[in-house]
Symmetry: C2
Subunit: 244 residues, 2 copies
DNA sequence: GAAATCAAAATGTCAGACAATTAAACTCCG
DNA sequence: CGGAGTTTAATTGTCTGACATTTTGATTTC
């Protein structure tokens, strides 16, 4: 592992990249120990603080973990789905909020991806997934539920639907789209009538998933897409009216 | 912004989290300047190196950029799609390689997501997207193309298909699934016969996208899924035979 | 032989210094 | 008065050296 002396980028960034590449390309395996900070400083011919900055960069990406003590050091970390989820959701949320992705685009993406999962979920969902979906529908029908709790439940419902496909890669990809949209969904005020419609469609979806009829699920999801878009438009219009 | 004196986590991690939260919750906006390292050190009552480690963590997540000089400092960065893509792809690739996601799961996820895009792409693709797809098909048919180049072209083709949907959120989500699978695809040896079939299906897809017939595209993608799975199985079997 | 102690290795943190970079303020001359 | 060059100040980037803390393993002692 060497760094380019001509590059004018930060040394810590170069060192981090060098180590990161070594990990990604499989030169280092999970739980392998990196050389100590002092040794790395020697190897790269920099000071220990610089090495430390590089290691903190890697730690921020969940690529390594550090451990103090005699047998301590920095170890290559097994990237967990949980870490990756969290990271993905944070990034997706920031992307949506910072780049002003409009509601329509986010909504379209979310439901397009969900519809991709539905047929698989109809085929493979476990009773657990189904029970979660039913429980969330029941929760959504409770009167007096706050808009925020309703959104939370909505996320949980759709998450169960996606997880039902039994494909962790799909679940991972979808988590970003579904959860990142929550802040946008939170801007919508759900009237009793709105909730009734949504609960109805959720019930249709759950029924279809239970019966294994993919096409019915797809149909209900399409309707839900259209309805959500309509609600979003209304919310945006109200916002514009207030601020204008 | 304050940190918990009782927490036994690294100070730099706590400080990074504190600043990150401030950014995510909108207390700081794009291009806002953070206090200087010296000021942050004062505020959090730590030394400058510790603050620097915290800032490097944030820089690793593309949340800030730093600039030297008189009017320099750390600034909240607008997260670009490009950065997010790169990050997403790295994470997805690591997840697949570290967690031993099997070929079948990755493949299923990829094509499920692509099929979600196809109808939108059939409706909205620009001539540019179509031209890219045709060009990549042409490249794939060249004799003497290396397996790696064939895979690259495959990625480019599918990327054009996805981008044709004109939804950056979808493109972002899909980039992870499509590109992260490349290392797995690279393990497959593509015979001339294999390539012929794939080019044929790609042509079907491009034709369908051009004609705006979503169902035909979906059909071709389904066939491509099955065929890719078959090739993957063969490659795995060969591997097992060799190593066993 | 077991418990207590000590030494060693590693990360975590600090203080102070200097280098490099950049923009603004200032000076000087035409 | 104006512009070009110079100085200055602010800020990040890096280094050196030190000490604190944590953990393990060896050593000592009873």
């Amino acid at each position: 592992m060497k760094i380019d002396p001509k590059s004018k980028a930060d040394l810590s960034a170069q060192i981090a990249k060098s180590i990161r590449d070594a990990i990604i390309e499989g030169q280092m395996n999970v739980d392998d120990r990196l050389p100590s900070e002092a040794e790395l400083a020697d190897q790269f011919d920099v000071s220990r603080p610089t090495v430390r900055e590089a290691l903190k960069r890697l730690a921020a990406q969940n690529l390594i973990r550090t451990q103090r003590g005699a047998t301590g050091g920095a170890f290559v970390r097994r990237l967990s789905y949980q870490d990756a989820y969290a990271n993905h959701i944070t990034t997706s949320t920031l992307l949506l909020s910072m780049n002003a992705v409009d509601f329509e685009t986010a909504c379209e993406a979310r439901y397009a991806l969900e519809r991709a999962c539905a047929p698989l979920s109809a085929e493979r969902r476990t009773p657990d997934h189904l029970a979660t979906m039913r429980a969330e529908i029941h929760r959504q029908a409770q009167p007096g539920l706050s808009d925020e709790s309703f959104c939370d439940s909505d996320v949980a419902f759709h998450r169960a639907l996606v997880d039902g496909a039994g494909n962790p890669v799909l679940s991972y990809q979808l988590a970003g789209a579904v959860e990142a949209m929550q802040p946008l969904m939170n801007m919508i005020t759900f009237t009793a009538r709105n909730r009734e419609v949504i609960v109805g469609l959720h019930t249709c979806i759950a029924d279809a998933i239970e019966a294994g009829t993919a096409q019915a699920a797809d149909q209900a999801l399409a309707e839900l897409t259209a309805y959500t878009l309509k609600l979003g438009d209304q919310a945006m219009a109200e916002r514009a009216a207030k601020s204008g």
